[in-house]
Symmetry: C2
Subunit: 344 residues, 2 copies
C-alpha cells in the first residue's frame, strides 16, 4: 500500500528522524530581508501588516524564495491576542510594543468573545498560504504562551526581568489566575482555528520562561501550556505542537514531561549534552544556534552548527536558531547556514 | 585541644553544614533602607560613596544594625575595576551605569598598573570593617567576574542580552582575549588585596552568565573564573571563594567542576532538585529566594523559604536571595525572612 510521505519538518515534529535535519529560522520573515523592509514601509503599521492577508502572505513567503527552508511560519505577532481581546496595543518604531497595562480592576473589560472575529484576517492568511506553499513545505502557526503574553499585558511593554507581571502574580493571585484562564481559552480557540485554516504545526512561544522559580514556572508556564495542548487536541486530535520555553533551563525536563508538546525548542544557552538528558529519547528537539553566531558568520558559526547537528543526530531534530534572527544578519551567512544544514 | 570556632558563614563556605543556614542578602546595603538613602544623598555620587571609607563603612554596617545577618559585604560596585583601569564610568540617577565603550583600538589605553593604587580607599574600608565587625560576622569582599565586567566595558551600559559584548567576542577574538587577560589579572590583584585588608571570603559576581551558549560559557565564564581562583590561591592559600554565575542554568555543573570555587550562588530560577544534582554533595550552595517574593511577603514567601531550607538541609547552605534585594522591599518583610531563617 503506498502512502503519501509527510512533509519532512512535520514528520520530524511527530518523531521521525530525518537523514539531515529540516530547518526553519525564528523570525525568518523579518527586518534582515530588504524585501521585508520594503513591504513593511508600505504598510500602515506593524499590526496592519499582520492583519492584511495580501501583505502577510507576501512576507511569509519571502524567505522561502531566497533559501530552501522547510517551513513557512505565519507572519504575525504574539500580541495580536491582547489586541483581539480589546487591550490597546501599539508598535512604535524603535520602541517595541506598548500596551495600556491591565490591572485587577480593568481585567473585566477584556472581551474574549470577539477574539476569533478580530483574528479572521490571520485565518485568511493561513488559507492562502496553504494554497500557495509547495507540498513539501510545512506551514507553522503560532501563538504566545499565556505567561509571556501576560508579561506584556501587565507590564505594558517588554522588560528585562518581567518584574511587573511577576509581582502581579504574587500580589493578585486571583486576578492573575483569571487572566491566565482568559489567555488559555483564547489561545485554544486561536490555535484550533489556525489548524482549521491550514496550519500543519503550531508553536507555543513562551519567550519569557526565564526569571521564574520552579513554583512560578509550574503554575505560570507548565500548567497553562499543558491546558492549551490538552484543549487544542480535544478539537484537533493529535495536533502537532512545538513548545519553545525560552530560558526554561533547569525546568526543561519538567516542561516536556508535563505539557504534552511533541517537540521542544531549545534556546541557545541550553548545553547540548544537558538537553540530551533533559528531553526523552525519541522526542524531537528544535534549535539552537546563537543568532549572533549567524551575524558573525565564518568558521565559528559552521563549527557550532556542526556540533549541534552531531549532538542531536540520534533523535528527531529541527535545526533552528536558539532565538530570533536579528536585523543586522548578513543574508550571505543565512545562505551558508542553510546550505550547511542541508548538505553538510 | 581547644580551637576557636570559625564564623558560621565562613565555615559554611568551607563546607561545614550548620544547624540553621547562615544568611546574608545580596545588595543588603541598599536603597530599600532609608538610612542608606540618607547617606547616598549626602555623597557626591555613587562612586564617591564607594571610594569614601567613612561612608562606605557606614552603609556596609547599616543592615547589620537592623537584622541579625551573618555577614557584612563590602559596599562597592563591580565597575570600580574598569574605573580603576582608566575607563570613563558614570552612574546617572535612574539610568544605571554609563561607560565610554572600549573598542579593539582603545583597549591599549587601559592602565592595569594603576588599579591597586586607585582602589586603595576600598582596602581602607575593609580594614576598618574588619576592626568594627563582631567576631562572629563574616566579612565578604567581591569583584565582578571578567565576562560580566566586559559586557559593561564593551556595551557601555547594562543591556538585556549583552549583544554588543557577545558580538565583540565573536568578531574580535584576539582583542577580546586581551581584555579578558587584563580583567583576570586585575581581579586577582584586587581580590588578593581584599583578603590582605581583612576580607574573610570573596564572591565572584558573574551577573551575566546567561545568554551564552556552552562554548562561549566555557571560554567567557568558566575559564576566566578558574584562572582567578587559581591566581588568588597562589597568593592566599585556600582562599574561600563563592562563585555566583547568575543564569548559568544547564552550565552549573561544569562551572562548579572546573572553577574551583568553594561555594556556588544559585539564582532563583534554579530548581532546587536540579541544583542538588548539579552541585556535588558536601559543596556549599547559596540562595535562592526570588527577591519579589520578599517584596510581596506573607505565606508565599515563608513557604518558599522553607522549601529552600529543606531542600539543602543535607549540605552546607547559606541562605540568600537569588538576586539582589530591590528598592521597594518592605523592611518588615526582611525582618520576617531573617527571623524565619534563623529560628524556623
Amino acid at each position: 500500500m503506498s502512502q503519501v510521505a509527510l512533509k519532512p519538518l512535520l514528520a520530524t515534529v511527530l518523531g521521525e528522524r530525518q537523514a539531515r535535519p529540516p530547518i526553519w529560522i525564528m523570525r525568518q520573515a523579518g527586518r534582515y530581508l530588504p524585501e521585508y523592509r520594503e513591504v513593511r514601509a508600505r504598510s500602515k503599521g506593524f499590526l496592519d501588516l499582520c492583519y492584511s492577508p495580501d501583505l502577510a502572505v507576501e512576507v511569509t513567503l519571502q524567505p522561502l524564495r531566497r533559501f530552501p527552508l522547510d517551513a513557512a511560519i505565519l507572519f504575525s505577532d504574539i500580541l495580536v491576542v491582547p489586541d483581539a481581546l480589546g487591550q490597546s496595543v501599539r508598535f512604535e518604531q524603535g520602541e517595541g510594543p506598548l500596551l495600556e497595562p491591565i490591572t485587577a480592576q480593568t481585567l473585566g473589560q477584556l472581551r474574549p468573545e470577539r477574539v476569533l472575529e478580530h483574528l479572521a484576517p490571520v485565518f485568511e492568511t493561513l488559507r492562502r498560504l496553504k494554497h500557495e506553499l509547495p507540498a513539501d513545505k510545512t506551514l507553522i502557526g503560532f501563538c504566545g504562551s499565556p505567561w509571556t503574553v501576560a508579561t506584556y499585558m501587565i507590564g505594558g511593554r517588554g522588560s528585562p526581568d518581567q518584574a511587573a507581571a511577576r509581582l502581579f502574580a504574587l500580589q493578585e493571585p486571583a486576578a492573575f489566575a483569571a487572566l491566565m484562564d482568559i489567555l488559555v481559552q483564547a489561545s485554544i480557540d486561536y490555535l484550533v482555528a489556525q489548524f482549521q485554516a491550514g496550519a500543519d504545526v503550531v508553536q507555543l512561544f513562551e519567550s519569557w520562561a526565564l526569571n521564574l522559580d520552579e513554583e512560578a514556572f509550574r503554575t505560570q508556564v507548565i500548567e497553562p501550556n499543558r491546558r492549551i495542548v490538552e484543549g487544542v487536541r480535544q478539537r484537533v486530535p493529535n495536533a502537532p505542537i512545538i513548545g519553545f520555553p525560552r530560558g526554561a533551563a533547569g525546568n526543561i525536563a519538567a516542561y516536556v514531561a508535563a505539557t504534552g508538546v511533541n517537540a521542544v525548542g531549545l534556546d541557545y544557552s541550553t548545553p547540548l549534552g544537558f538537553a540530551q538528558n533533559a528531553v526523552p529519547p525519541g522526542m524531537a528537539v528544535q534549535g539552537n544556534l546563537d543568532p549572533l553566531r549567524l551575524v558573525a558568520g565564518g568558521p565559528q558559526m559552521e563549527e557550532r552548527a556542526r556540533q549541534i547537528i552531531a549532538a542531536f543526530a540520534d533523535r528527531p531534530h529541527i535545526f533552528n536558531l536558539g532565538h530570533g534572527i536579528v536585523p543586522q544578519t548578513p543574508i550571505a551567512h543565512v545562505e551558508r547556514l542553510v546550505e550547511l544544514v542541508k548538505n553538510g
